[in-house]
């Protein structure tokens, strides 16, 4: 209301000197528009330009450290799959990210359901504690974590890294899942119970299917996070045959004497493409996450 009155009042005083000269006004608007585009283009270029060398190097038969017009070839990508060590990096990354995502998602779906549907003592405190755990920086726990992993014989194993990565993703996923389940009316579940479903099969056949977009978004998010992680595998894995791409890239880059830039940039491209694609995909997905459409339809 206050805003409406305000608007009406200002409309009454439109004929101020400022607005009398229409042409000058339009010129000012044009200048502003041009300036807007100029600044946004500069920002976008700043964000994209560093990738030019990575992309061009990956298709350059004589790639170096410097940006240049490439001698076009796909040889670098072929070499990635031909070399004895590099395909292994890709497999390891897939195993670690896939495993971590599955574990985190599975546990968070059931945990999130409990947080959403049950009112138990200490639930509020627990929710805030989970939120607080999210801010614990991995750099500050990596040293004791390393010793713990040695003590429980999970150092330098896939299982160890998968469990740790899952543990890092669970706090956020619990919150996400709880939110998605909250938006599914309990009435739908109760209808299933009346039809003879048990509580568990009600969850499996009503709640989880209805939250599929949300669960999918959560899964992609966790996958991208684990896929890009550098510190955890750097500390918890020592055998090169278990390294994910992040560590492989770092090692290849740090080999001071002989860096194979073509192979390195091709690896980087293969490494970044899934996250870029998944991200585009997840952005659309997240918009669908509102289950209201499913209920109304």
């Amino acid at each position: 209301m206050a805003v409406d009155q305000h608007l009406a009042a200002s409309r009454g005083s439109v004929a101020t000197p400022r607005h009398r000269s229409g042409r000058r006004h339009r010129a000012a608007g044009l200048t502003r528009r041009a300036l807007t585009y100029l600044v946004i283009v500069v920002l976008a270029v700043f964000c994209v330009v560093p990738f030019a060398w990575v992309l061009l190097g990956s298709v350059d038969s004589k790639a170096g450290l410097y940006l240049r017009a490439p001698h076009l070839t796909l040889h670098n990508f072929l070499r990635f799959f031909d070399q004895p060590t590099t395909p292994r990096l890709l497999v390891n990354s897939l195993v670690l990210s896939g495993g971590g995502t599955v574990v985190a998602l599975f546990l968070s779906m059931f945990g999130g359901y409990a947080l959403s549907r049950y009112r138990f003592f200490g639930r509020r405190t627990l929710m805030f504690a989970i939120l607080l755990v999210r801010v614990v920086p991995p750099t500050a726990t990596i040293v004791p974590l390393y010793i713990i992993m040695i003590d429980i014989h999970l150092n330098n194993t896939y299982v160890g890294v998968i469990l740790v990565e899952a543990a890092y993703q669970i706090p956020l996923l619990l919150w996400l899942m709880k939110g998605f389940f909250d938006s599914i009316p309990v009435g739908l579940e109760e209808a299933a119970w009346i039809d003879g479903c048990s509580r568990v099969s009600g969850v499996l056949h009503v709640v989880f299917p209805l939250s599929r977009p949300g669960i999918g978004a959560g899964a992609l998010f966790a996958f991208v996070n684990i896929w890009g992680d550098f510190l955890t595998p750097l500390v918890l894995l020592q055998s090169p045959d278990r390294y994910p791409i992040s560590i492989g890239l770092f090692q290849a880059f740090s080999a001071f004497n002989q860096v194979d830039w073509g192979l390195l940039t091709a690896t980087a491209v293969l490494y970044m493409v899934p996250t870029v694609l998944l991200y585009l995909f997840a952005r659309r997905y997240l918009l669908q996450a509102t289950v209201t459409g499913a209920i109304k339809g």
Binding site: V54, P137, P144, S246
Partner: protein
């Protein structure tokens, strides 16, 4: 029922996130090392590690670098450029918003190792480095960025990577402001700057503050982005606290000392974290 559903998730978090916090406290009071005598039978040494940290100067230096890193890359760089991007992309009648938004999103989306690698060529020394070539057009002599200005270099890289997160936060907040309010201000004759200063910014104060807290927390533990490019060097010029912890623990094998440094970093982050949790005022 609740225990069965929620238990496994909480056990995992307790084992690999919470327990290490407690274990760090204990280790920081011992002379635990990775090799030699301290590896098998670490001795309780009280606050000796903390005393060493606070008197050696190296650790204080790393904290100062971390503060510098946070202030310039997160609080100034990401905030200002992210706000600028959000303001421009929420204007009406701008074409190709999706393309511009996507371009700005790219640095955040790629793995941190790829982000660093991309800047290796940008910052490369000599006349052929991408940045040097750009500066050559305005008559600036080539610079070995990572040698001469290593802190500035990693600050720019981290700013670049974080613009998108700020932009997303602010875009959502600005879109939440009623159009009428902005229009009313404009009809009253307020200029762009006045609208921003007196209408937009006060109305998105909450999200701005949350962003500043969150980005401070995450920037305080940035590791891969810096380690990939400089490994803390040259000398100790980019040895921010996260790199200090890594190098003392895994290069010099002083796990006790590394743990003490971890505890101090944790203490700082948790104070910020509690503030964040209280301010987020999320519905539970």
């Amino acid at each position: 029922m609740v225990a069965a559903l929620l238990g496994p998730a909480l056990v995992l978090v307790a084992a690999f996130v919470v327990a290490p916090v407690g274990y760090a406290l204990w280790l920081s009071l011992t002379n635990k090392t990775l090799t030699g005598f301290g590896a098998q039978t670490p001795k309780f040494v009280g606050l000796a590690n903390y005393r060493q940290l606070l008197t050696s100067g190296d650790f204080g230096h790393s904290l100062r670098l971390t503060a510098e890193f946070i202030v310039f890359s997160a609080i100034l760089g990401q905030f200002l450029l992210g706000l600028l991007a959000a303001l421009l992309l929420t204007q009406t009648g701008i074409r190709l918003k999706g393309v511009f938004g996507g371009a700005i999103l790219l640095p955040m989306v790629v793995p941190e190792v790829v982000a660093s690698l991309a800047w290796a060529s940008m910052l490369a020394p000599g006349t052929l480095g991408t940045l040097n070539r750009g500066f050559a057009t305005v008559g600036v002599d080539p610079v070995s960025w990572l040698q001469r200005y290593p802190m500035a270099a990693i600050i720019i890289v981290n700013t670049w990577r974080g613009i998108a997160f700020a932009m997303i936060m602010f875009q959502a907040a600005i879109e939440g402001i009623s159009r009428e309010v902005l229009e009313a201000a404009r009809i009253d004759g307020a200029g762009v700057w006045q609208v921003l200063r007196h209408v937009t910014l006060p109305l998105i104060r909450g999200p701005v503050f949350l962003f500043l807290l969150l980005t401070t927390i995450t920037t305080s533990s940035v590791f891969g982005l810096v380690y990939f490019l400089t490994q803390g060097g040259p000398g100790q010029q980019t040895q921010v606290t996260s790199i200090y912890i890594y190098q003392h623990s895994f290069r010099f094998f002083q796990l006790g000392l590394g743990s003490a440094a971890s505890v101090i970093l944790l203490g700082i982050v948790l104070v910020l974290g509690v503030t964040y949790v209280r301010l987020a005022r999320v519905e539970v």
